[in-house]
């Protein structure tokens, strides 16, 4: 049975709250294994995608707490295991939701939220593309790397140019949507 996208989103939101109510490492470990099992093909990529954003925060926090435990002669391993597992399970749930839930369809009942999401997502792609184009253009024109001062001034100029282009682009999209009746709700 395949769940609808709004139902998947609701299930995800319920699951993240439920996970924060679990305070034992063993159920969290079982949950982690179950998610990996149920999530199907690409599970290792999913785990890596989930772990990447939280890895450094967890490493810094855990090493600091380990050091504190060692200095004060306290047992901290159980606490660290619980916290690390919980953070990883929540990150994995989010990565899984992002892979298997289509937010456009999940937000079908909220057209304004969906419209805003579409415009913002479009602008994000534009900014990322402009940033990449700028880096490539700079590399292809310079035989030596630019100085920090040149990078600052260059980035400021291209950033403001990108802002103008982004606003112009978004206005065109909105006008096109309005002329087709997409903003009539």
């Amino acid at each position: 049975m395949s769940l609808s996208h709004p139902a998947r989103l609701a299930l995800y939101l319920t699951a993240v709250v439920a996970v924060t109510l679990v305070h034992l490492p063993v159920p969290l470990l079982v949950l982690l294994a179950s998610i990996l099992l149920v999530s199907g093909r690409g599970r290792i990529a999913l785990l890596l995608r989930a772990a990447r954003p939280v890895f450094w925060v967890l490493l810094l926090m855990s090493s600091g707490y380990l050091l504190m435990g060692w200095l004060t002669n306290q047992a901290v391993l159980d606490t660290l295991l619980l916290i690390n597992l919980r953070v990883v399970v929540l990150a994995l749930l989010t990565a899984w939701m992002m892979r298997d839930v289509d937010l456009d369809r999940a937000l079908a009942h909220w057209p304004r939220a969906r419209r805003w999401l579409v415009i913002v997502r479009g602008q994000l792609l534009l900014f990322l593309r402009l940033g990449r184009d700028y880096r490539h253009a700079q590399r292809s024109r310079e035989t030596v790397p630019p100085t920090l001062r040149q990078r600052f001034f260059g980035s400021a100029a291209i950033g403001l140019g990108a802002l103008d282009r982004g606003v112009h682009n978004a206005e065109m999209v909105t006008q096109a949507m309005r002329s087709r009746g997409a903003l009539d709700d």
Partner: protein, 220 residues
């Protein structure tokens, strides 16, 4: 300075959600009243810009990360209510697209950065702009980031006091205020100066283009 999911307790995020929900509702009303069709594309672009600015992250020992926020810029251009709503969307996208921050941490992050950050920037700007508008932008953004960082540090440092196992060990974030306040505030002092300078550059550009929805005193 996002707090990831799993580091703050339900004792913290549920009351934060109860506080944030009516504020989001009210911000939605303000948004519908203030942002016309012609300003919506600009808002979308600036929301995307705030997303890009806050996407460059540096993990900090205090259990969070350091990065520009962009909410001061949003507040000075569109006003605090719109900035709060817009920054909530940034936080939501970051949680879902990049795994930075989180769903349970969203109300706390939104209140600390989106609400308090936006209002601090806006009110300080209103207070100082009669002196000199550009100075006001710089100081307002700088202090708004420090206020947000302080709130995040206080919320994280509160966790070992309010969410403990029967044996006294912490169930969520394990460090108290003596660690979180300096570990989060000090790096944000430098981040705040950089972001204040960047916001000033963008604000000047927005003023030249007549994009300011929250005008400077004497220019309304």
């Amino acid at each position: 300075m996002h707090i990831p999911d799993g580091l703050i307790s339900p004792q913290t995020y549920l009351p934060a959600l109860a506080l944030a929900a009516p504020l989001w509702w009210w911000a939605g009303r303000e948004f519908a009243g203030r942002v016309g069709d012609e300003a919506l594309p600009r808002l979308a672009v600036f929301t995307a810009l705030a997303f890009v600015l806050s996407g460059l992250m540096l993990p900090l020992p205090g259990g969070t990360s350091g990065h520009a926020i962009g909410v001061g810029m949003l507040a000075l251009i569109f006003g605090p209510w719109v900035a709060f709503l817009s920054h909530t969307l940034v936080l939501l996208l970051q949680a879902l697209v990049m795994g930075a921050g989180g769903i349970t941490a969203l109300p706390v992050n939104a209140l600390a950065m989106g609400f308090l950050g936006a209002w601090t920037a806006y009110l300080l700007f209103r207070l100082l702009s009669p002196l000199q508008a550009e100075f006001a932008v710089f100081v307002a953004v700088l202090l708004s980031i420090l206020v947000s960082a302080l709130i995040v540090a206080l919320v994280l440092g509160l966790q070992p006091m309010i969410a403990r196992a029967p044996d006294g060990s912490p169930r969520f974030f394990p460090f108290g205020w003596s660690v979180t306040v300096p570990a989060i505030l000090l790096p944000h002092l430098f981040i705040a100066m950089g972001e204040a300078a960047l916001t000033l550059l963008i604000w000047r550009h927005a003023r030249r283009r007549r994009w300011l929805q929250a005008p400077v005193a004497g220019e309304a």
